[in-house]
Symmetry: C2
Subunit: 231 residues, 2 copies
């Protein structure tokens, strides 16, 4: 057994799954910087499998929770940041095959590379073992993250919450206005105002996109409105 | 058998699947305007199942196509417009249970209601029959749309194509600049310029979002650049 095979053996023990076809896991661990036989197609497949496994688990676990809440919980469980954390738990970064450049710049620690490789590993397990075994493995890897997730932790975004609060009090919807765009074309800053005329609330937010600026302005307006309504 | 049961019988024949648990299909066909026992949770589940079935089918059917292209093909196959077309082919609109208001305003013809109900039906079949049978049914319903899809038909967006063409000719990347934002806060128009300095190309685009405006400007710049390079 050569060194690469030994490495892969070790990773499979760490992952908790032995491949019938070792070429699949070799490919899943190969970043595009290292070879043309890289993991991106497996990542595409793994992303879809993961999305379905998490959707089914949440659907079963929360029989009373509505679709919007389920969607938000799913997003928080399959986003890159979460996948990178799980990837680190199984030391995935130690086993990714990277090109010279990525190695030198510490690519094995980059969240996006870890998350993508994790999805590719899921895709490889799925091709090797089918849906049910992949499902079991994913649930094991997620562990408490899935069993202890709380619907209330995944909030709607600030603009939505502000709109809902206003509607529940029969107040008019807020108006967002773009006040200013500054900076170089590739690095602009947007400044936005959020106005709730009936309550004389006007807040401002700025960010690298109009959307981010609006969310910040909405967050501040929501705080002011809640204080006003509570007083 | 009452009238509603007869209706559902008819729809199941049209769909090509007989439910073991008829309550599932009843729920899948119930819009939130008609009852609290509506189809939105099933829609959440069906969306994930559909996404995975189409991802797996494309992955197998196109062994040489890269991840980006697979993603774009999948998007075009699972977008609301496509789902609404398939829903119409099985006359889904005739069987959706809508509230008074939606009925009067012709909700059974609305693409979003049809697409959502179609996903809910997929979710119901999945709960009733499991993955493999749902997979078979989805592939039947998609038919030629899936077997005859051409990777070249789903193009990358204009900004990406422009960037790739410039890179392949070792030219600098374009600069996008926001020229103007006009209109009321809820109905703004963005005007954007796209500049390729080395080739003295400058085009403009306008749209309801900055992104749309940039895509239009990029599309025009791409046309000018192609003409210039071909001449």
């Amino acid at each position: 057994m050569n060194q690469q095979q030994q490495q892969i053996e070790r990773f499979c023990r760490r992952l908790g799954y032995q491949f019938l076809d070792p070429q699949l896991i070799t490919k899943a661990l190969t970043h595009r910087s290292a070879s043309n036989h890289h993991n991106e197609r497996l990542e595409f497949l793994g992303d879809a499998v993961l999305g379905m496994v998490i959707a089914r688990a949440l659907f079963t676990q929360f029989p009373k929770v509505d679709e919007g809440q389920l969607s938000r919980m799913r997003s928080s469980l399959v986003k890159g940041k979460t996948l990178a954390v799980i990837a680190k738990e199984i030391d995935l970064g130690d086993y990714i095959n990277l090109g010279e450049g990525e190695l030198k710049s510490g690519g094995f620690r980059r969240a996006s590379i870890l998350a993508d490789a994790f999805e590719a590993v899921i895709g490889a397990v799925y091709l090797d073992a089918g849906f049910e075994k992949t499902n079991t493995l994913i649930l094991e890897l997620y562990g408490q993250r899935l069993t202890e997730i709380n619907p209330a932790d995944t909030q709607k975004d600030a603009k939505t919450r502000l709109q809902e609060l206003l509607q529940s009090r029969r107040l008019s919807l807020p108006e967002y206005e773009l006040l200013d765009v500054s900076g170089e074309p590739h690095d602009q800053t947007f400044e936005v105002a959020c106005c709730i005329t009936e309550k004389a609330i006007q807040t401002k937010g700025s960010g690298s996109s109009r959307r981010n600026a609006e969310q910040l302005a909405a967050e501040k307006a929501l705080t002011e409105l809640q204080q006003l309504l509570a007083s």
